[in-house]
């Protein structure tokens, strides 16, 4: 059992949980994810790690309530126990001194970006973070991102905070202003697709961290397969980060919807 030691609500939909998992806290690196199974009947869902505290032996997850299991997880409280947490899984982010790195985050994608931005900064990069969301309430971890970035640009769809516009507008303004050596993007698939299209146009190398459907998370099932550069790859063991310009985002988005109808039927029961 894995105890929730701290809970913080970022908004109605977004919750941060600190969970006791000392082995994972010790071995995880930026870019890694865990598989969480809430209870005996629970499904196994992948969640990217947003940070850890080695002394306390905890890992941090930031969850957006979108489906059945994520809603259930967000409703859990301090002191509650999660049946299974396994990880850290996937390949860690490749960190080196690239020069100027733009971190393009959409919504809850800011959470897994935080350790990456931190590591990039530590490696000597100039880090510019673009935090985008529909509205002000959904901008999360701004303070923490400011602490590890040279500059933070906030974008909201409705203009309620920062500048009005999409994440791509923020990224484009940086590219137009200075040389960008690498872009890292995490967020909804559709957002990553458009970031990727934009940076491809400007020939800025881009890495996307993909979050697909998984069961075991260790390469056993193949539920997470995506097409990258015309080849089938497993997000769980080959990723989760890939060259965004090679990823077939349209196929990935279709595959993300594989169980939507079944889930809707289950909810309406």
């Amino acid at each position: 059992m894995y105890k929730i030691v701290k809970k913080e609500k970022f908004s109605d939909l977004v919750t941060r949980l600190d969970i006791e998992a000392p082995l994972i806290a010790r071995s995880r690196k930026a870019g890694h994810f865990v598989i969480v199974k809430l209870d005996e009947k629970g499904e196994r869902i992948p969640l990217t790690i947003a940070g850890s505290d080695m002394e306390k032996g905890t890992i941090t997850l930031v969850i957006q309530a979108v489906g059945h299991s994520s809603s259930k997880l967000c409703a859990m409280n301090e002191g509650d126990e999660i049946a299974h947490v396994v990880g850290p899984l996937g390949k860690a982010t490749h960190i080196e001194k690239f020069g100027t790195v733009v971190c393009a985050c959409g919504g809850v994608g800011t959470a897994p970006m935080l350790p990456i931005a931190e590591a990039m900064k530590k490696a000597g990069n100039r880090v510019i973070s673009v935090l985008a969301a529909r509205t002000k309430d959904l901008i999360i971890l701004e303070k923490q991102m400011r602490a590890v970035s040279d500059e933070v640009i906030i974008m909201t769809d409705d203009g309620s905070y920062g500048e009005k516009g999409l994440v791509t507008n923020g990224v484009e303004s940086v590219i137009n202003r200075e040389k960008v050596d690498l872009c890292v993007t995490i967020g909804p698939a559709i957002m990553m697709k458009f970031v990727s299209l934009l940076t491809k146009k400007y020939e800025v190398p881009t890495v996307a961290s993909l979050n697909t459907i998984m069961v075991d998370g260790t390469g056993m099932c193949g539920a997470c397969r995506v097409t990258v550069g015309g080849e089938t790859k497993f997000v769980c063991v080959d990723g989760p980060e890939f060259d965004a310009h090679q990823v077939d985002f349209d196929e990935m988005m279709l595959r993300l919807g594989a169980y939507k109808e079944i889930e809707l039927q289950a909810q309406n029961k």
């Binding site: 082995l23 994972i24 071995s27 199974k37 809430l38 009947k41 629970g42 499904e43 196994r44 059945h68 299991s69 049946a83 299974h84 947490v85 396994v86 990880g87 850290p88 899984l89 069961v215 075991d216 260790t218 390469g219 056993m220 099932c221 193949g222 539920a223 397969r225 995506v226 097409t227 089938t232 497993f234 063991v237 196929e251 279709l254 595959r255 919807g257 594989a258 169980y259 079944i262 889930e263 289950a266 029961k269």
Partner: protein, 481 residues
Amino acid sequence: MDRNAEWRDALRKEIKAKDRTTIERVEMNELEASYRRHCREEVNQGLTAEQAIQEAKRCLDCANPTCMQGCPVGIDIPGFVKNIERGEFLEAAKVLKKTSALPAVCGRVCPQEKQCESQCMQIKMGKKPVAIGYLERFAADYERESGNIAVPECASCNGKKVGVIGSGPAGLSCAGDLAKYGYDVTVFEALHEIGGVLKYGIPEFRLPNAVVDVEIENLKKMGVKFVTDCVVGKTITPEELKQEGFECLFVASGAGLPRFMNIPGENLINILSSNEYLTRVNLMDASSDDSDTPVFKGKNVAIIGGGNTAMDSVRTALRLGAERAMIVYRRSEEEMPARVEEVKHAKEEGVEFLTLHNPIEYIGDEKGRVKAMRLQKMELGEPDASGRRKPVEIPGAIETIEVDTVIVAIGVSPNPIVPSSIEGLDVSCKGTIEVNDEMQSNSIPTIFAGGDIVRGGATVILAMGDGRKAAAGIHKYLSEK
């Protein structure tokens, strides 16, 4: 071996060998095909005590029991069979447990027709072999159901720690033997449940989880410790385990990487690996209403492949409500690697066999879901490297069949997570770990390996045999050190 025991000598004299060969081989009691194809109940119902005793009489108790040469773990076959004949069923189970950690499992899933039974003396006399598998299952089930499960004797703990990576058949059998030798054994499992392929892979109707759980409980009683949710190489490294005092490691992490054919449309929705399909249904219980894991219950389901996993998948599809469940296999039925019994059961349940057909493309609907498959018809040509006749395309003979689910069951590759986390480990180009006859790594003497991570995709019993050999190898290595 107690072939010379008085009771056994008397038993041999009771019935003449010639008369033993005239007894008809027992038929397994099975659920009706029309009933079982809609439920998860175990198809084979086992033998009654009377049937078992009668079948045991067919065994000639040969002085040189060739059947044992056919058994990868060298079970004392006449020893347990003769105990059944004299009605000492618990004693029979004890004989089995001397060499097999999981007799109730082996009695169900071993390909006996290719192993022990294929070497039976009865065959040489033109008769059917003794139903050794059915008898093995009978003795193990009898013991379990009696509530008098014998915990094998273990040497007193020698304080030496050994780690086993993976809790499938290889890992469990190795752990059992190591406990018997007196080691302090910990098994590390990546999934949330113990049992590996026995849990996620083989369906309930062929191997009930409850049967596996009893065997695991028994190992716990022998002092084996289990850690779930632990991916060695990720959660904890082999190097860290060494620092924690584990003197040897047995790597039995399996062949958990499903293969695909890389043909157009293979990533459409509702095309999945047999690993994923079976894991959803078996391990995650996805077909139950109260499970949070979804599974698509297809009406027209095609399974690509001709092995046991393909048979398990196609019969699972029937149980999930498929109206049409098809096996698509590129060779003919004769070359199918699946057990004869599985093919027979599948046919009885109404599975269609599209042999000499090979998928070349999948076609999707507007939502990205598979709606049809294009199959290339094949014919058999000259024998290939495997000795089987090679399937060759019949030019222009292409068929399109409507499907809403496709399960790809064409094999697996070794899972790279553990091998890649051990620096300097000898790994073949296929990703399997290279070991000597004692299952010891060629390059690192404290690392042993067995099962599919060495073989690349084999059977439960071969994995168990590897586990036993590795336990003996580890014992020898640590005793001589």
